[in-house]
């Protein structure tokens, strides 16, 4: 069960978490990542994306994760639109029999989401000016860590 959702409305983390683990007795480990809008001098952000391409890229990333690690479920839910500070932007969750696969797959998915999924953010600063967010080089290097590594060494 691999799911991708682009949401215009506030992420209901409780509902997402609740639904995610149900009904599969082989699941022993859930790892969830939630990204929130940080309030470092900003009032809000706005997120846009490339409809169609985004969903394709995220679904492929889930497939890649499932090839590298024995994961049972994976879900990526990403907000678009206007988000005030502390609002959840993204929720990535992975279920597996054991924790090592779930941790690695969840971090892998976030690392690639950051650099390969067509989302763009702008920030509303305290003076009411919108500024596009620059891509961070650390994100690129975090994603590169996964290249050429043998999946087995990461479990």
């Amino acid at each position: 069960m691999f799911e991708v959702e682009i949401s215009r409305t506030r992420l209901n983390l409780s509902a997402l978490n609740y639904r995610f683990a149900e009904g599969d007795e082989s699941i022993g480990a859930l790892v969830s990542f939630t990204g929130l809008v940080r309030g470092n001098g900003i009032a809000a952000i706005e997120v846009e994306h490339y409809p169609g391409m985004t969903e394709t890229v995220l679904r492929k990333q889930l497939e890649s994760a499932a090839k590298r690690w024995p994961i049972t479920r994976g879900s990526i839910v990403h907000r678009i639109g206007y988000l005030p500070v502390s609002e959840p932007i993204v929720w990535v969750s992975v279920a597996s029999a054991h924790r090592a696969a779930a941790f690695s797959a969840c971090e892998f998915l976030m690392d690639f989401l950051k650099v390969d999924a067509p989302f763009w953010k702008k920030e509303l600063d305290v003076d009411g000016v919108w500024n596009w967010v620059e891509a961070r080089s650390q994100d690129q290097s975090r994603a590169s860590r996964w290249m050429g590594r043998d999946a087995a060494t990461l479990i």
Partner: protein
């Protein structure tokens, strides 16, 4: 053909897509990019010709030497900043 523009590129261009004549195809992504850049403001040209700009053809990121053909969906955008 409609070329899709996202984020800063759309803001600088002033529209979310740019019309492009099918008669000029096929072209490489780089040829298309240079041709499109000449149509916009200085800001737009600089942003589109930046070395870190991405091009997706049929919703897949491609290299600059990829050939764009009639019927392809083409999008240009700056580095992604999701999550």
């Amino acid at each position: 053909m409609n070329i899709l523009l996202f984020a800063q590129l759309r803001d600088y261009y002033g529209a979310s897509s740019a019309e492009y004549s099918d008669d000029e195809l096929p072209l490489t992504v780089e040829e298309l990019r240079r041709s499109l850049a000449s149509r916009g403001s200085d800001e737009f040209r600089e942003a589109l010709l930046a070395p870190n700009v991405f091009c997706a053809v049929n919703q897949k990121v491609v290299d600059l030497d990829h050939t764009v053909r009639v019927g392809d969906e083409v999008g240009f955008f700056p580095p992604m900043t999701g999550g």
